[in-house]
């Protein structure tokens, strides 16, 4: 009976506005007063459950002065030591873990051992903290100015300005609750992309449809990026397009390298979580299916439906995430995902073995003191092959977001690697 009354009242007015919210209300708990169900979900992102290729495993550790975390996610470097060889000389070879729920983003960034290897800029925080209010403050009223100021600060200083992981106001307007993009890097990245497609000064918050926004809010962070120039500006390399080929072409034109490979001297690039880019090449994106449809499916609460703010692997929530569109059983849907992921994973391993062979050859050639001229071509191939492989490796759906494209990319990576090995042999002094 209580139940029914409850439902009725809820039905009559879905939102109780008990507290006023504005663009300075960073604390999700405050928003939670008005939207308790979304807040509950949001907080559940602390859960750690592993799927075959996703989710995350809760690994206990003894907290230390430097790193107070008592639980972390499993180390990918331990799962596959070949990654260390691929990233030799770069911070990722020191510490790289499976990603976990949003609740951990700020801590995991603050305490990753990668911080011990390099001095990082404030830019890092763009995707690991609620920086919206801080940016306004820093830029006193000018978001972009605040963005630039934050980027320029050393990480340690910038870190003092933030307290929360991604929060409500990073995705929502406080008055209408409409979705909005709050990250200048995404605004600029998408404007560049649209310009390339012939659309002049595109403004996401003005021109995007609601369904597009359900992917764009995620695209603010789940993308490939780099820090441009001495100002460490956060830039998304999309001005030629979202395909791996177009992104590499961009970096080549910029003559950008993330680091020089320690063992081979190759001008290497590190691809990072290009979920948005790979998704854009898949059949779901083409069908207008957004990130939120699968990662934040509607869920029944009392008499209403709300978006499940427990952002996580859809494989942990198949009935809501998939079955409204696909009538197959949960087991069948999981099996379909696994088939796609397994194919991707096996080809990824083949590409990884090939890369190891090239790195070994190049390393030997360097040790043998062969002149750079003889190694240039092989190094160029390593740069390409490695970026292509990493593009799929770093993408977190293990190919699901665009199965054929992922396999295509790995196939080309293999071709580049092997050609690099051939270049070394054919350039051998006769």
């Amino acid at each position: 009976l209580v139940n029914i009354l409850e439902r009725k009242s809820e039905a009559r007015n879905p939102f109780y506005r008990v507290v006023a919210l504005d663009d300075t209300t960073t604390d999700p708990a405050a928003w939670g007063k008005n939207f308790p169900f979304q807040y509950d979900g949001y907080r559940r992102t602390v859960d750690q459950v592993r799927t075959r290729h996703g989710g995350s495993e809760a690994v206990p550790r003894t907290p230390s002065q430097a790193d107070p975390r008592s639980i972390v996610a499993q180390s990918k470097l331990e799962e596959d030591p070949r990654l260390k060889a691929m990233w030799a000389g770069y911070a990722f070879s020191r510490d790289f873990r499976e990603e976990r729920g949003h609740a951990y983003m700020l801590d995991d960034q603050t305490f990753t051992e990668r911080q011990l290897v390099v001095q990082q800029p404030g830019t890092c925080l763009q995707c690991h903290a609620s920086v919206y209010a801080p940016m306004w403050a820093l830029g006193n009223g000018d978001l972009v100015k605040g963005f630039e100021a934050l980027n320029r600060l050393p990480y340690a200083e910038a870190r003092k300005l933030v307290t929360h992981p991604v929060a409500c106001l990073d995705c929502h307007a406080p008055d209408t609750l409409q979705l909005r993009v709050t990250r200048p890097a995404f605004l600029e990245g998408l404007r560049g992309l649209k310009a390339a497609e012939g659309v002049k000064d595109y403004d996401v918050n003005r021109d995007a449809t609601r369904q597009e926004m359900r992917a764009f809010v995620c695209g603010q962070c789940h993308v490939e990026y780099y820090f441009k120039g001495p100002d460490k500006r956060l830039v998304y390399p999309w001005s030629r397009g979202l395909k791996v080929d177009q992104i590499l072409a961009y970096y080549d034109a910029e003559q950008f390298r993330d680091w020089t490979h320690k063992d081979t001297g190759a001008p290497a690039l590190k691809a990072q979580h290009p979920e948005f880019e790979l998704w854009s090449q898949g059949i779901h994106a083409r069908s207008g299916v957004a990130c939120a449809d699968c990662h934040m499916p509607y869920t029944r609460v009392g008499a209403q439906k709300i978006s499940d703010h427990h952002v996580r692997s859809p494989l942990l929530n198949v009935n809501r995430a998939c079955q409204s569109c696909h009538r197959w059983s949960e087991d069948e849907l999981k099996a379909r995902v696994l088939t796609i992921q397994q194919r991707t994973y096996e080809l990824r391993n083949r590409a990884m073995d090939a890369l190891m062979a090239l790195i070994t050859d190049l390393k030997a050639a360097v040790a043998a003191g062969r002149p750079d001229a003889e190694l240039a071509s092989a190094r160029e191939f390593q740069r390409k092959a490695q970026f292509y492989l990493d593009f799929v490796e770093a993408e977190n759906s293990t190919g699901f977001h665009a199965p054929q494209e992922a396999a295509r990319i790995l196939g080309e990576s293999i071709d580049f690697t092997r050609q690099g090995q051939l270049a070394l042999r054919d350039r051998r002094p006769r």
């Binding site: 439902r7 039905a11 939102f15 209408t176 609601r210 509607y298 209403q304």
Partner: protein
Amino acid sequence: MTAGPARAAVALAVAMGLALGIGAYTFVYARGGSYLTDDPAACANCHVMREQLDGWTAGSHRAVAVCNDCHTPPGLIGKYTTKALNGFWHSFAFTSGRFHEPIRISARNHGVTETACRHCHAAVVASIDAGRHGAARLTCTGCHASVGHLQ
């Protein structure tokens, strides 16, 4: 498909007396009048509606909504203008045999249906569909394509 101009053109031809002739003939013979009832079976007087009838019979709404609950707007006027429009055009299409197959719902009628969803499920969707200024509406059928007709 059922493009505006195309319809206009046909409309002209029809206006030229044809309407009374063939139009009326069809409407009676092919039971275009079925459009005026609420009996789902009546819709299937046109065999081309059979698939949807079957789909509806297999669907989750069989027990809770008849064709017209989803395919005509609430309110008598809206209801009967829509019925008249569809009844006439579909009768005409049926007779002339000129229509796209598989049959696809028109933008207008899709709008009618989407409104119907919200009409019955106002409570359920209140929070996801509530007053978003400017933002385009959700499309219920984007996720629930087979509620009306199990596909």
